[in-house]
C-alpha cells in the first residue's frame, strides 16, 4: 500500500476504483453530467464514465460552468466519489465543494505517477491522506 500526503480541499472519506488522466478535465461543453462522461474531442477520457470513481487528474480547465456541471453530476447520481488532483484553480475548488466529495491536493509525491486507472484508492479528505492499493479491487484495505 502506498500513502500520499496532501492537503484537505473537501473533508470526508470515500474509496473506489481510480480513473486517472494526466490531462486537465473539461467542464461545460466537454462533459455530459447526466451521463457522467467526458465528451471533449481529443480527450483521453472521451466517452469514459467517471461515476462512482476516484477521479485522479491534473486539474480543471475550460468554461466557468465547471462547478455547475459537476454540481449537476451530484444531482444526477453520476459524480465521482472523490477527487485527487494536482493543480488548484477556482474551477476545481468550487466544483469539489458543491459536489461535496472528499478531495485532496498539494501532495508530497505526484499522484499521476503513482496511481493508475483500476487501482483501489481510499481518500481521507479531513486528514489529506490518499491510500493506494495497486492490485485493483481486492476488497477493503
Amino acid at each position: 500500500m502506498i500513502v500520499l500526503r496532501g492537503r484537505k480541499v473537501v473533508g470526508g472519506r470515500a474509496e473506489g476504483e481510480a480513473l486517472v488522466t494526466s490531462m486537465t478535465v473539461p467542464g461545460w461543453g466537454g462533459v455530459n453530467p447526466i451521463k457522467g462522461v467526458i465528451t471533449e474531442t481529443r480527450h483521453d477520457l472521451r466517452g469514459v464514465s467517471f461515476a462512482g470513481k476516484v477521479l485522479v487528474f491534473r486539474g480543471a480547465k475550460g468554461s466557468s460552468g465547471w462547478s455547475a456541471m459537476y454540481h449537476t453530476t451530484r444531482l444526477a447520481g453520476t459524480a465521482p466519489v472523490a477527487l485527487v488532483f494536482n493543480e488548484m484553480t477556482t474551477k476545481v475548488a468550487l466544483g469539489a465543494v458543491v459536489m461535496r466529495v472528499p478531495s485532496v491536493t498539494d501532495f508530497d509525491q505526484d499522484p499521476l505517477s503513482v496511481i493508475e486507472t483500476g487501482d483501489w484508492v481510499v481518500v481521507d479528505g479531513d486528514c489529506g491522506l490518499v491510500e493506494v492499493r495497486k492490485n485493483g479491487r481486492g476488497g477493503r484495505l
Partner: protein
Amino acid sequence: MLTLTDDEKAMLDGRHGKARQKAMDLLVRYAEALGAERFVDTQNVAGVPGSANAFLQNYYKDKSGPGGDAIFSFFDLDADELVESPNAVVHTCHLQGGADPLHWQTLGVSAEIVRGHEARESFAVSKGVEILKTCTPYLAGNVPAFGEHLAWMESSAVIYANSVLGARTNTEGRESTSAAMLTGKIPDWGLHRDEPRRGTHRVDVRVPIGSVIDWGMLGYFTGDVVQEHIPVLTGALQPPDIVRLKHFGAAASSSGGVEMYHLAGITPEAPDVDTAFGGNVPVEVFEYGAAQRRQVYDALNANASDPAVDFVMLGCPHAALEQLREAAALLDGRKIGGNTRLWIFTSRAVRTEADAAGYTAAITAAGGVVMTDTCSAFAQAVPQGAKVAALDSAKQAHYLPAILGLQAWFGTTRDCIEAAITGRWNGACPS
C-alpha cells in the same frame, strides 16, 4: 488559515438573514478549499443567478414555496433548505441565457422551455439583477475599471477583464457569483493578488498576427501549450482591436484554462516584457511560427470533411457591433443559399444598436437571423437536420462538435459568409 472580518462573521452567524448566511457558508467552504486567507470586497458580479436549463427546471419542479426559490436556494447557494433571498447587495449582471426571446422557434426551443427561461429571468429581475444576457458584458454596459475586483463567470469575459482591462477576477462559477451577489465578497486568491498575475510562460510569435482569424488561432495555440498558466506574448503582434482581443481570449480560455495573458507593449500590465514577467523566469518558451499555425488550423478543422455546409454560425463570443456591420456588408444585396442557414448571435444591447444602424435588416434581408441571449453551443441548438457547420470562432469550433456531434469548418468571417451563400466550404489556412 482563513480569517474573517466582523461583517463576514456577522453574515456567517446569520445576523443578516438566512440567505446571506448560506451564501457566506458556501464562500467559506470555497475559500478553505482554495487555501485562501481572506476575502476581498467586490462591487461587480457577473453570473447566472437563478437560471436553469431543462434538467434543473425539472429537477427542482414544485420544490419552490413561500420560503424561497428552490433553484436559487439549493443550486446557486448549495443550501440544504429553502431560503428567501434578499436583493443583490452589489452591482450584478446576468450573463448569457438559454434561448432568444424573439426567435426561439427558429432556435428550435419548445414554448415550455422558453416560458421556463422567462420565469427564471423574472426571478433574477426581482432580485435586482441586470439582464445583459451576454457572454460579452464588456460590450453591453459593464466595463470594469483598472484594478477593480470582480466576481465574474464566463471564461472569455474573465480573460478579457483581467488582460485587456486590468481588472481582477478569477474564473468564478455559478455558485460563487450568486453568493457574491448577496455578500459582496469573494476569496482573495489567485488573480486578485499581484504575484499570480505575472507572466509564467512565453509565446514567441514568429508570423505576423493581424486579422481576427490570426488572433483566434494564436489564442487557441496559446491555451493549448500553457494550459492554465500566464503567457506573455512577444514578437510580430500588430496592435489588436476589441474584436481581435475577444477572439484571442475566448480561444485561449477554451483550449486551455488561461485566465490572464500579457501582450508585451500592448496590454496594461505589460508595458514591456520584463514588467509582464515581474521577475519570473519563463518556465518554458513556445514558438508560434508557420508550422504551428498550420497545426492549429488543421486541429480546428479536424472534425470536418464534407464541404457541403448547411449551417453558418457567427457571434462567438457575442458579436460586436462592427462584426454585425461586417456581416451586413459581406451579405449586401446577396442571398444565402436555399439549403443553408445563417445565425448570428449578439447581446440585446448590441442588437439594438445594429437595428438602429440597419445591419439587422440587411442580414435579415439576405436570409440570416440575428439572435440574442445565447448561442448554438450554449443552447445546444442548430437548425433541424444541420450536419456541417461553418464557424469563425475557435472557441465555438472547440465546443460545437463535442456538444452536438456535427462537423465544423473553421475559417474567416468572409469564408463563413461565402459558405452561407454558396453552400460550399472554400476556406484555406491563412498565410
